[in-house]
Point group: C2
Chain length 280, copies 2
């Protein structure tokens, strides 16, 4: 009989999820973090960074499609896109589906996350060497400091706000991203679970509303993330997703996102609407 | 230091959730099942039936609002409503918010679930003795067999399809509910997680599409349920929620549901749309 091995992930003081593990496929300590690939019973392979699930083969499509397609469908002409983080390559693969996009700068601090994803998660990372992707192994915070008026879209595909990633949820970083964006650019960031990190979501929303004329939070459902529902927040001085003409929306090769979903994701449950304090 | 006690709920062969327990408030074996009330660290009190979380004080509002308000807002004149199950009283409390509703028959097989909820979950069960609620302690399957052309709305607030509740997901039961409904009545049932019980959701949708002219699946996000996202399926021969006039929707005292949510919940992620095979 096979050993019954479970990986436990704490999400708060009183809530944990557990994934059953068939085997540990890979483990290493990089310069920045512990990188582990496990084969799970239910979700295919999963990438863990410092013991936190980043993606699984079964459900990564939800997160990656939602963080990518919503801004790409909102911007009328996204040519140059910056992804901060996203070393598994999943978000970049979605953005490549837009022919208008000429260049994707993918700034990942940890080269080993990309290498490990390429080797062990080929279904997610397959496109990471596409010629339109410009891989930059560097601190994303440093990268945006050095850019001005450069990007149509910036996607902040960060890990949770603990350790160094915490600064990716604070105003100085958002100000740098705003400077790195073109005047009509769009910023999107993952803004955590509205059930477990209400304070983070509220703060991200308040900060971005203070800095941009348009701020819109939307939700997606990612089973392996705490509480299953995840929030993303989009901000821009020029483009409001609520004003996007339905006829411009394209049905691409996706599993979660569709034009129908685009039109509905900004309708928030009442308690989330109150949390983010955004007017429709 | 307080003992670190966790309640574990298996959702599939490879996925579990764990809630930290402050104390076990109540436990009994009724004629039908084990009934336990625990005080959790994160979700307030929770009701467990045979070891499965039914409701928690913190997140019950999502499930109860979604199973109740969507049919009540779809039906132009809901006067008589049947709830099968729902012994915690949460769904009934939502339906009472509609003044048009004259009578709610709440058919719960286990009288002790109602009594325990009244005693230990007053914030959920407070309204269960309202004069408009007609409590019937009986097998819901038997009850619908005896009714004909009686209800405007039938809500099947069942537990998971294991043991006796399994028959609540099968065609003979749906045929009895259809007979118990008025000709223009609306049936709503919880149709499980689209991530963990795809086969159940697909089967419920197929069966109801075969029996009713309108079948619509919609989603809500309940953190303590597996994968966080839950499906409900509505069926009717007369009323299509997609045809409801926006001006008829009312903003009630709710925390999840709103007219905005009503208009968006039928927009399904592509993989769910394919699973339920319903045309918009």
């Amino acid at each position: 009989m096979q050993a019954d091995i479970w990986f436990t992930e704490p999400h708060s003081r009183g809530f944990r999820t557990q994934l059953r593990i068939e085997r540990v496929v890979h483990n290493e300590k990089s310069e920045f973090q512990d990188i582990t690939i496990v084969e799970t019973t239910d979700f295919g392979r999963a990438l863990l960074l410092d013991g936190i699930v980043q993606v699984t083969e079964k459900d990564h499509f939800v997160y990656n499609e939602m963080i990518s397609h919503i801004p790409c469908a909102t911007h009328p002409n996204p040519e140059k896109v910056l992804i901060i983080g996203g070393g598994d390559g999943g978000a970049a693969a979605e953005i490549l589906k837009y022919e208008k996009v000429k260049q994707i700068d993918m700034v990942e601090i940890d080269e080993r996350v990309v290498a490990v994803s390429e080797e062990f998660l080929p279904s997610i990372a397959a496109k990471v060497r596409d010629p339109r992707i410009n891989l930059i192994f560097k601190d994303g915070m440093q990268h945006v400091k050095e850019k001005e008026n450069e990007y149509d879209i910036i996607i902040v595909d960060s890990s949770d706000p603990v350790g160094p990633a915490a600064r990716l949820f604070e105003r100085p970083f958002y100000e740098d991203t705003k400077r790195a964006l073109k005047k009509d650019g769009i910023l999107v960031c993952q803004s955590e679970s509205p059930f477990f990190y209400e304070d983070i979501l509220a703060k991200v929303s308040t900060t971005l509303q203070d800095m941009f004329s348009v701020t819109r939070t939307y939700l997606g459902t990612v089973p392996t993330y705490p509480a299953g529902v995840w929030s993303f927040t989009l901000a821009s001085d020029a483009h409001d997703p609520l004003d996007v003409d339905e006829s411009s929306l394209v049905d691409l090769d996706t599993r979660y996102y569709s034009p129908e979903i685009f039109k509905s994701v900004f309708s928030l449950p009442k308690f989330v609407r109150e949390l983010v304090n955004q007017k429709r």
